[in-house]
Symmetry: C2
């Protein structure tokens, strides 16, 4: 056993599986943490435990929160008649960092995919349609990735809302072909939101 | 608050400070963990907590272990009369992965540095000299980084051991100028160890 103890090896293996990491970076991180075992490492263990226990999906929008209804859905000032539909919570976070959108969100948690057998119900699209009526929504902004799956999903939602009174828009300029929202800078994402177009 | 809760923001900030990470990679990791909050995330919290509580430095060699004396120092088969001196536990792990060295280690925990006021006592060099007598050591292999500080430290130890019977060697070929052991592949490190030369 090269790395100290079974638990240390298990810890390295677990961290190596996190996105963007591997065995080498995991070993560096674990040694760094062991050096700070009375401070940073204990604090990290406690925060992971409390976030794991407290986190859940907002019952309304799917955002990650520590209550039943997230801070955005609970804030009356965010009920401005606009709902921004995103694939993932990471995209919601990216939009919030841009400070350009003052309405509410709907997190799909993925895109439609025949291959992976992901249908409209799996993405909470019926729930979105319910919200449009109950929250008096005037505009649905489809802020989906500019990928084939993202755009297929955007068209599906636009079609499903065609018979309703709601205006359906999509992010316009600024999102590069094949680009993913979470990787754009805040300025680009704000510009794309301001220049949104009718679908 | 863009990211769900105060604890989620604190967790992102803590992970962003780990070596090789930043805010973007920390956000990706935290979202990934929250998705696996009943499995991987809880497991990670528990392992971090148990490694933080159990880990300490081996009283003999400075290796990270979960007992007073590490597995290598406790193994009579590793008492082959050779001690390999390394700067850091990461270097010990790298040598163990290479499976080329069957003796014991001495972890300095740094290099001599007038600037940072790190002297021989801070690196456990007196302890190394004690071990040479008490463990019947015949050869001390200085496996230090090929940096100015590493080589200054190697020369200091070689000088300190000049009056003893012990043979002092250093890693020979394979360690590039300015290179750090932890970044070498296993084959290179094994070759450098086999071709070690007398100082
Ligand atoms: Zn919500
Ligand atoms: Zn030891």
């Amino acid at each position: 056993m090269a790395e100290g103890s079974d638990d240390i090896q298990a810890l390295i293996a677990l961290i190596a599986r996190l996105p963007g990491l591997g065995p080498r970076s995991a070993r560096r991180i674990v040694l760094h943490l062991i050096r700070k075992r009375n401070g940073q490492m204990t604090q990290l263990a406690q925060l992971l435990d409390s976030v794991a226990n407290a986190s859940r999906e907002c019952l309304t929008c799917g955002n990650i929160t520590d209550r039943d209804i997230c801070a955005i859905c609970s804030d009356p000032a965010r009920a401005n008649g606009e709902i921004c539909v995103v694939q993932d919570v990471a995209d919601l976070w990216a939009l919030e960092r841009g400070h350009a959108f003052r309405g509410r969100y709907h997190v799909l948690g993925g895109t439609l995919s025949a291959l992976d057998e992901i249908g409209p119900e799996d993405l909470g699209i019926p729930g979105l349609i319910d919200r449009i009526a109950s929250e008096g929504v005037r505009e649905v902004i489809l802020a989906l990735n500019a990928t084939v799956d993202g755009q297929t999903t955007a068209h599906y939602i636009a079609d499903a809302l065609e018979s309703s009174e709601v205006v359906v828009t999509g992010l316009a300029q600024g999102v590069p072909i094949g680009g993913e929202l979470d990787y754009l800078d805040d300025g680009t994402i704000s510009a794309a939101l301001r220049a949104r177009r009718s679908l």
